[in-house]
Symmetry: C3
Amino acid sequence: MFREELIFETHGEGDIIDLSPAVRDVVARSGVWDGQVSVFVKGSTAAITTIEFEPGVLADLRRALDVIAPKDAVYEHDRAWGDGNGRSHVRAALLGPSVTIPVQEGTLFSGTWQQVVLIELDIRSGRTRFVLCTVV
Amino acid sequence: MFREELIFETHGEGDIIDLSPAVRDVVARSGVWDGQVSVFVKGSTAAITTIEFEPGVLADLRRALDVIAPKDAVYEHDRAWGDGNGRSHVRAALLGPSVTIPVQEGTLFSGTWQQVVLIELDIRSGRTRFVLCTVV
Amino acid sequence: MFREELIFETHGEGDIIDLSPAVRDVVARSGVWDGQVSVFVKGSTAAITTIEFEPGVLADLRRALDVIAPKDAVYEHDRAWGDGNGRSHVRAALLGPSVTIPVQEGTLFSGTWQQVVLIELDIRSGRTRFVLCTVV
């Protein structure tokens, strides 16, 4: 098992970072030829998934998230705590905190247009996000 | 590999159980210092995810699930089988049955406000749910 | 670790294939008695989840996906590229590309009504989908 933590600064709600180059580097450093890599983000207002990293698709995903948990709805979390990020929690729980990708011949077995991404869902800019990559 | 089955009684649709203490205990008993733990629920009308275990957030999640698969919609599953839990199946498929969390220094690498939860989506109260924890 | 690639031809948007028999065969061939199997689909317009493989439930899932990312919405991806599959990308990112299922006593630890499925979300018929099964 090989493990590395990646640290990212995010720039507010809806910021999406392409993790693929960094994850591919971790896999290369691990020396693992055939196996799997799990990518997990710490925290309850961010998420990990795979998507084509294309500005149009990313905008479309943001809009879909706003359908599921709209900006202008009333959130019990916000009423109780005044955090204003009730929707962030809901979206993160639906997307999930991690993804597991096969490693084949030393690289990611994922489509050409299928990138691993970190999605910042919280409303505050300048958050530090800790992403743990585990190669097995 | 270390494996343990956890058994829970749930109290109807929308019941959400914080699995973190039990999962942390399994990890401790496994003796694994660095690795991963997968948490999987058997059955097609329950789900596993991570979320802040705070009553407001949980209420907000329930409402979002009702947007995706509303209580008052007509479900083909219900028309065919009269089960009344068509929405439960849809919600479970979207949330997913499992989550994989890194184990670091003998404990879960997850945020302070990021709990592993079992979400009961079925409409019948008093269901027994089988959750399998696999520590690698 | 044992790995096998499964190849499927899909028949357009909303086609859902029950992977359980094939995944169970891979597990049997692996000889693994206790472990886990990860099922991952290559590409950004398909998804893997678990669901009861019943026509009514599958129709209900398709309708829920149309709520999250409707057919008749305007997609930035389509405006930029004219692909017409903007909704496919959004739905795939929300569902996710993989699922990990425990293997117990040589078979899948999943419910009787809980099948592993490949969901074709792209709009073009006759796509070839590559699914990688990794048994550990």
